[in-house]
Subunit: 502 residues, 3 copies
């Protein structure tokens, strides 16, 4: 005996429920959502508060789609009639597309699924969902799990260390370790592994799906409807707040370590300083977002995502959820700087040596997999429109020229470091790129990737974000990079005596 | 000629003083406190402002104890009559129990003591004070200073480095160094070493006690009445604000470094993100604290200390100042994860090898000193009640199972690292656990304890707090742990050639 | 055909412009500034918003100089008549002293210069500008670029790594790297290298100066009028807000890394905790700044810069922009603690061995270049007046005695580390201080300077700022210092066998 989704969404004005919740002047809540709230409002008051504070609780899709102009947030051409006139509550999302989700289960007569996916969100927010699929972030799970070289790097970091005599090797990490480390940000692959019966406080025994890889909100999560990504990575459940997504603290969740120190560099930059001091007076919720009215310095979202207008309401840049389309260069995660990949699926890339990398070990581009000069120029222009909101052209040009010189300078240093590594491999002091060997797992190889995975990286971030100073030098920047190379050379000198052989 | 404490507390309504302070509609201030304020309000305006902003200045113990139900903050069964009807001012605390404090001195006719102790606070807040004595934190000084192995570790870190030929050894650190490093957080042992006469601006020459180890607000401070702890470690003087204590910035004072990175992990977690963005709209002062009304994500206090209720006012968890009683596992500070110690006094623990450690070097528990399975389960359940405020059972179960697997995985890595260290000791390449030898002070031993004191530690924190990502991998997590073990092996390989002997 | 500066500043009430900007009850805007705004308000709305939010837009110099007493912000004895009666807008600063600036160019008939210098600001803020010239920070570019030893250190960190056989050497860094690293904070040397014609959206082709080293806001920037410094380093353009400058986030821009961890140490201290929690309720804009009214814990500015009064309006300490004049000791950047240099120009210092350093390698002072005991005592007293705002004398004395012991303890450790380095040089295992050799560039030398440039440094900061605990021990403090020395000794032992020779 299952209630149908549509039946469940008949709109009622459940006065008792509403008044007990202190809701007034707010949109009707569907019958199905009201039923959810009857139990869950007391059981999980935190998320219900979040939802109640959310835009979803305060407007119906029908009202939202009627907004004209740049303020419109519902980007789909139309919304299903049955969703149109009630708040977007529990049922509106968790009952959507039940046939598509492997975790759909009968819960109190409803076909509920636990994990809401970008394809669910796409019902109203189609454009953002489509853009996000072109965002390299939506492929974050697959790009890591499906690339042989990355997998070797990953295993040498999170795998189980195994000693055999004087040698170490690394065995595949357990699933909890994987989910809690790389795939915490990259997203897990979800899988329903069975069901579990639980004796609930309010309704006695109930059956629930058991989901491997859950909970997770990584940006490239493989969902139970096969889709990739997690909108709640940034639009934190259950407020799904644009204000939260626009604050740098959201990006910090995954961009804080030495591998990708965007947050600490930002926080130490002039922009971050202004944000820290003045954000309490800014407006993080208006759409479109007005430079010179709503805020006085950019956050991550300002430069990379948001729809910006000037005080006359004229568009400066369009909203994008393909977050690299104001970015010509890819400056981290790999040895050398290079133009952004053409496809968000980077597993297809092969360099001239057949490796799944966007450059070869000498820095040469795997050009046919990367964006070209025209596209790079167009992306640069797009980003510079944002800069121009507060900076004149001599500032912007000076900044950008400096940035492009600095990324070249870091690449030159890494050419030195990598040349040294290659020589060490060549001399047989470490096992490198031969078949079956992991080029990342020996102590000297770890010393090598520190230089590109952390230090050169940090330097480029400080340059890109005008957050130089300490993060560009002493806090994991040039100081550590020059020391890292010096230590590689010293390691080599200690082991390789040209006169005496090894 | 000394005024008695009780005499000094006769309540007067010193209109001149009050009006000069702009105080209206506030409780009477005792004569003694009024006298204090006459000088100190101008001399130290900062702390007087703090006090004036405090609850202590705005309510009398008599009014406070009359509060019914969960909102009551004064937990003692009764308060002394002479304290009942005036604000809790300078005199009310600094004149309490004068015979018990070694720093009591005659100040302007009053028996003042400088350092207020938990036993003083216990006059009104008896329950919290009693709980705190069962908190391992109250024993933090003693547990460090009174454990031979910990003392060796401490000396090898903060002691004076001494070179003799090719060897380094470490001599006892000076008292300032000790007070400013380990005991800054663990708490100093206070001692009155004499008196000092000072020519004061307002009252000419006056005599004051000289207190060794002062100032200090470490959590396990040994006070001048023999008690242990410092309430002002978290309830910052002189507001003693519950709001300050509930913010993560308070815990950060001692939980920020790589040895115990609770704050940075929190700040990079989803919870921390929500807190950073939305805390400006939350209510940090209400008692009890209502999930789904006062706040939308937990701070440290929410999970570990606070009395929480749901929006119906029903208790979710009780307040506790024994901060490990929602914690089954102890995940940091030592090599291996283990059940929490039974007694807050950990100096009594002995493992099977007679060492004062909760596990042996292979990870076996010193079980009779640790809580048992039932207690662990009960503590887990208690913590999960907090989780359930915002998360359904599949989320909570999934999180917890992952956490328990991850701590096992870190323990396995440390078994490898420690096995390597034991082999190095065995081969005589370092001096280990023999009598009179410090197992922590050689360079290779330092490389070893980096792995457990920092890296495995950080990994466990990220897992416990769902703050994975960078802190679990690249920012002092698995990346550094796997490298740390690889460097130990490499160190060993360079020095130990099976074929040629040492 | 150029409009004169004075002509351009004729005051008009451009009603159209004003009403379009929503400005009411605000001072008149000069004709010149109105012309600027006509284009720039739409082109760069962000900075125009900043300016509009600023004090400069809300008061005229004539009104500002009329303020009596400690609240007066315009410190010059008089302001030029032509600036007196209009808001301080674009033109008022960018047209000042046109003959003095190498970047002055004809822009729409006005003699505009791009880079506003401290000498421009001095027109109204003469005292602060004069104090700042005595601040060692104003000499930050010169002190780094003009000191042979520092230049060697700098090149070994940011220079281009060059391999010749088994040796590394460092070549001069490119200009972008320099500007983006050391000189990001120290300030670049600006130079007009030519002009560039750009096709502007609103006015067609226009010619602009090209400025090498721009953009930059480093504290010791060499400006195009020959002056040193950048007021906007702290008084962020274009609000030039005292509130922003008083927040620790401003100082963090350059004081955040392990070389000078003032911000992280502060943020983890009791002061920082109080600030993080309560700053939302503080008043950061009042002049003078009242302890016990406007704020409840110090920020960087409170202790080092601000004019402070007690609630009776009596001065506690005077404002200073010579930021070391409440500081007896210089605790970072060099091997040993030492009294502050007498002159802000430190390139003139020579130690007994003729090196441009304030101490010799054994820690002996280059005394004639440093402040004496009396001056140190006076500066200590000045700082302690700030402490006394919230702390009694036993607290302040205890804190200060501890601090002075701790800096001695760190110096003793560095004597050990430096002695080891000297022995390594002596034995020929590294090339040290001989002519033409860089004493900082080899791997072992880098291991040596880690100890003083980072670790001892951090320890001293924690002690000075009562921010002990983790930053004094585990987060780049004593743990790393003791390990650093142990690793130097181990390096030495591996390479130097007394019995066998090298």
């Amino acid at each position: 005996m299952k209630k149908t989704f549509l039946g469940g969404l008949v709109i009622i004005l459940s006065v008792g429920v509403l008044s007990s919740m202190g809701v007034c002047d707010e949109p009707a809540i569907s019958e199905a959502t009201s039923e959810c709230l009857e139990c869950h409002a007391m059981q999980h008051p935190g998320i219900v508060k979040d939802w109640r504070d959310s835009r979803h609780a305060q407007i119906t899709p029908g009202q939202a789609i009627a907004v004209k102009g740049l303020g419109r947030k519902v980007s789909s051409r139309s919304v299903p009639k049955e969703l149109s006139d009630a708040a977007v509550g529990c049922a509106e999302c968790h009952l959507l597309r039940p046939d598509q989700h492997a975790d759909t289960f009968d819960h109190n007569g409803y076909n509920v699924h636990v994990v809401v996916s970008p394809q669910d969100c796409a019902v109203c927010h189609g454009e953002e969902s489509a853009q996000y699929q072109k965002n390299i972030m939506s492929h974050a799970h697959k790009n890591l799990a499906g690339n042989d070289l990355y997998r070797q790097l990953k295993t040498s970091i999170i795998g189980k260390t195994h000693r055999t005599g004087a040698r170490l090797s690394y065995r595949e990490a357990d699933s909890a370790t994987k989910a809690d480390s790389c795939f915490y940000c990259h997203g897990t692959r979800l899988r329903v592994s069975g069901t579990r019966i639980r004796d609930t406080e309010l309704a006695g025994e109930m059956e629930f799906p058991v989901i491997e890889g859950w909970p997770n909100q990584g940006v490239g999560r493989i969902n139970l409807d096969g889709s990739m990504g997690s909108c709640s990575a940034c639009h934190t459940r259950h407020t799904f707040s644009i204000a939260v997504a626009r604050e740098p603290y959201t990006c910090k969740e995954c961009h804080v370590g030495p591998d990708v120190p965007a947050f600490p560099v930002y926080a130490a930059s002039k922009h971050g300083n202004i944000h820290s001091t003045l954000r309490k007076d800014w407006n993080f919720t208006t759409v479109p977002w007005t430079v010179g009215k709503d805020f006085a310095a950019p956050t991550c979202a300002t430069c990379h995502v948001s729809l910006l207008v000037n005080p006359d309401g004229e568009e400066i840049v369009a909203r994008t959820h393909q977050m690299n389309n104001r970015l010509p260069w890819r400056i981290y995660g790999l040895i050398y700087t290079h133009p952004h990949p053409l496809s968000p699926d980077t597993t297809i890339i092969r360099n001239k040596d057949g490796q799944p990398l966007p450059t070869d070990l000498n820095g040469g581009y795997a050009a046919k997999f990367l964006i070209g000069t025209e596209e790079m120029k167009q992306r640069t222009t797009e980003m510079q429109k944002v800069c121009a909101g507060c900076h004149d052209s001599s500032w912007v040009t000076g900044h950008w020229e400096k940035f492009e010189q600095v990324i070249q300078a870091t690449d030159a240093e890494l050419r030195t470091a990598t040349g040294l590594m290659q020589e060490i491999w060549e001399k047989g002091l470490a096992e490198g790129l031969e078949k079956g060997k992991n080029p990342f797992d020996e102590a000297i190889e770890k010393k090598w990737h520190l230089n590109w995975l952390f230090y050169a990286n940090s330097i480029r971030f400080t340059s890109a974000m005008a957050g130089g100073g300490d993060y560009g030098v002493f806090a994991g920047g040039r100081y550590q990079l020059s020391m890292g190379i010096a230590e590689m050379q010293e390691w080599y000198n200690l082991r390789w005596k040209p006169d005496h052989g090894k």
